[in-house]
Every structure is written in structure tokens, then in C-alpha cells.
């Protein structure tokens, strides 16, 4: 007496097909290939990294970091009347080409004894645009020293130095040294 032989056959045949597929796909190497989405991410990656490197080298990134939270509430190339050189660079390279981005600043918080990250391209954390998982990410560091003046008043005026200024977003990580803090700028573009 043989039971549900058709069902058994069907299940067995399905297993054979799936196994053949798995063997076939693992026999080929698709590593070097990039899909269209991956190519676009690679291109945005290069652009973002180049932009941050150029901005850091010309000093625009440092000026923007010294301006944030005391002279400018957000660092975003898309707002009207944006003034820093860094925001202009973002505008020309990303906003005008239809790309979206988020900018994060990370610094060392001595009181919390932890690395803290803030979103600077929007005014509130919940306004952060949702980035897909394969967005391009580029980072660059800015070192702040105690004697650096902040930038206020539309980011073109010179304000009090970092060691004395009031509500700067980053606290002094090393009060007994000229090093004020090291800020890492992260740009996520998609």
C-alpha cells in the first residue's frame, strides 16, 4: 500500500529544483558586478568624499563647524539665505542635482563620557529624511582648539573663542589642554 505518492513526488521534485538553483548560484561569482543602484551609490560616495575633503582643506568645513549652534541653527545647502561656503558647496553639488542628504556631527562629551552625535542638517531630529540602507556615507574630522573664535552673525562675524563661548554644541573635551574637541562630520547622501 503506497500512500500519497504524488505529494511525495512533488515535494521531492521541488527540493531537487531548489537545490539545483542553490548549487548553480554558488558556483558563479557575482562579486565584481555592480547593479545600477550600486553604481549610483558608488558615484555619490566619490562625490561626497571629495566634497568633504575639499571643504576641510579650504577651511570651509572648519568655519561651518565653528558657526553651527552659535551662528547658524542648521547646516543645510537647501535653505534660503544660506551663507557659509560649505553650505554653498553642498547646494551646488547635491541640492541642485536632486540628491538628498543628512549631516551629522559627532563629538566627545566629557560629562556623559560618551561619543555624542547630533543631526545638523535639520532643525529637529525627527525631521531627518529617511535614508535608504545603501546611501553613500563620507566622513571627515575637524579639530577644534581653545583659541579658535566662533563665527556668529550670519557666520561672517567673529565671536568669542571656544573656551569662553556660552552655548556651543560641543563641550570642552580636554579642559587642561589647548585641544577643545575633535568633531567628526558625517555626510549621508542618496
Amino acid at each position: 500500500m503506497r500512500g500519497q505518492a504524488y505529494t511525495l513526488e512533488g515535494v521531492l521534485a521541488a527540493i531537487v529544483v531548489v537545490t539545483a538553483t542553490v548549487y548553480g548560484l554558488s558556483a558563479v561569482d557575482t562579486g565584481p558586478f555592480q547593479t545600477g543602484a550600486e553604481q549610483r551609490t558608488a558615484e555619490l560616495d566619490a562625490r561626497a568624499a571629495d566634497l568633504l575633503s575639499l571643504a576641510a582643506e579650504t577651511g570651509a568645513l572648519q568655519n561651518a563647524t565653528r558657526c553651527y549652534s552659535v551662528g547658524a541653527p542648521t547646516l543645510n545647502g537647501n535653505q534660503t539665505g544660506s551663507s557659509t561656503e560649505f553650505e554653498r558647496m553642498l547646494n551646488y553639488t547635491f541640492d541642485r542635482q536632486g540628491d538628498e542628504y543628512n549631516i551629522y556631527l559627532s563629538y566627545w562629551d566629557r560629562d556623559a563620557n560618551d561619543r555624542t552625535t547630533v543631526l545638523v542638517s535639520q532643525a529637529a531630529n525627527q525631521n531627518a529624511a529617511d535614508n535608504p540602507a545603501d546611501a553613500a556615507v563620507a566622513t571627515e574630522t575637524v579639530t577644534l582648539t581653545d583659541d579658535m573664535p566662533t563665527r556668529i552673525g550670519d557666520c561672517s562675524g567673529t565671536g568669542p573663542t571656544l573656551s569662553v563661548v556660552g552655548d556651543y554644541f560641543a563641550p570642552d573635551a580636554r579642559p587642561d589642554s589647548i585641544v577643545y574637541n575633535v568633531v567628526e562630520v558625517r555626510l549621508v547622501v542618496w
Binding site: E9, V16, V28, R115, T143, V179
Partner: protein, 299 residues
Amino acid sequence: MVARDRGQLLLIGGVAIAIVVFSTILFAHSLAVTDGITTTGSAQSIERLADREASVNRDLERLAAETRGDDLDGYEGRYRHALSNYTGTYNRVVGSRDGTYLNATLNETASLGTEVNQSGSSRFTRPGGTGSNVDWTVASDVRRVVVFNLTVKDIPGSGTPFTLVVEGDGGGTWTLEVTETTPGAVKHVTVNGGPSACADTGDAEVDVLDGTCSIGGPTGSTGTFTTFTSTLDAPYTVRIEKGNRVRGSYRFAAIGDFPGTSYDAGDTAPYPVVPAVDTTYDTPSASYNRTVFVEVNST
């Protein structure tokens, strides 16, 4: 379906489809692959490493310029302190995210530069070596000067001036004289034979690099003069003539050749005019180190 007249239709059909799928994948792959495919990642990752190094080098330059200060003796200590604080904070902020750790320490033996100084109040004569005691070469083939100041306290004797001569590339010269007609009278600081930059009684303090002089303290005469760096091209040769005519102190730190005819061993000391910093990058995949010469541009 009649069970009697057929075999394992489903099973055989499934196996046939499996074979078709398997071979399709393999053949399609070999057709699509061309032998021109290469991975694109390596050029990008090298440039990211170069970006990171450029960023760290900029920070090292800024820290070196800010710790230079006026107190030259404590420079190495201050720079070391700043470097250790910098690397600590850097690793906490950046290293904890992507696993790349930086270690930057000052390498004094690899740093370039020599310093010669005379404190107190002595004549400006040759500290050691052989040759003329009064006309001697402070340094030749000088490429970078970071400290050059002197203080003339008094000029005993008949008032013959002492002359500081700097020769540039191509033979041009720049001279600085401090004169005092009689001891206790007004001192004059003149450059290239021009009008007095400063004139007053008292100690004459001259910063040769900045081009400023002041005689008689803050209430006395102060003035400026053209510096030798703005009129001459490196490499320079710095000489003192008639050094035995004056008494005072000086300090000179530069990268150049401090000849044995003017100095014995121990008369000069190394000074980090261009500090050398050993930087080590520890990444998850590799660890490499580099000795960086930090060009300190005076701001």
C-alpha cells in the same frame, strides 16, 4: 491520471527543470562575464586613506603652530601634551566608530633644526671652534629660521658698531647695526644703512624675524624695519662682524649648517624647527606608520 500508465512524472519533470535552471545560470554567467571586469574598490580606498592622512597632518600643523608661543624652552613639552590630548580625543570620536586608531608622538631626534643661544650678558663672540673671534658665521645654508632675536645691553669702548650680516641666494646682503656713540648714550638700530628704526637709551631688543625693535622698555622707542626674509631668498648665511664690541644676549634657531669653525660640540642644541611626528594608523585590515615633518607656518 491513471496510476497504472505513468511513472514518476512529477519527479522526472522536477529533475528536468532543475537541470535546466542550473545550466542556465552557469551558461548565462559565462556569457555575461567578460575578462575586462575588475573590482573598482582599490583606488577609492587609497584615496580615502590619503584624505585621512591629509586631515591629520593639517591638525598636527595647527597644534604645532599654536603651541609654539613665546616660551621656547617649553615648546617640546607643550607640543607633546597637545599631541597626546589630540590623539586621545581623536580615537574616542573617530576610532570608536570605524575602528581606525591613530597614535601620534613627537620624534625629537628626527626633528630638524638647531638652536644656539646666549643668555645673560656676554660679548657676541664666537662660542667655540677656531678662526676669528669677532667675525664669525652664525650659520650657513639656512633654509628656515623660526627664532631670531637679540638684546644689546651695552657697547663699551669707542662705539664701533657691531654688524649682523645676512647674505641671501645670489649674493644680496642685508645688514643690521646697533650703534651707541658713547657708553650710556642713545642707541640706534639701523638696517641696510637707512634711517634709525629705533633710537633711545637703554637695552635694545631686536626681533630680527618680525622686523621690530624696541629700546628702553615699553615706554621707550619702538619701530619696525624690513626683514631679511622679505628682501632675500633662502638659503641664507648669517654672520656677525665685530661681535666683541657689544654685550648682550641672543637666540637663533633655524635649519642650516652650524659650522665647526664657530662652535664646539655642546654649543648648539637641537630644537624642533620642523618637528617630526611619528604617526601610526591601526585599521582593522592593516597597520602602518609614517614620520611626518610638520611645516609650521607662522600665523
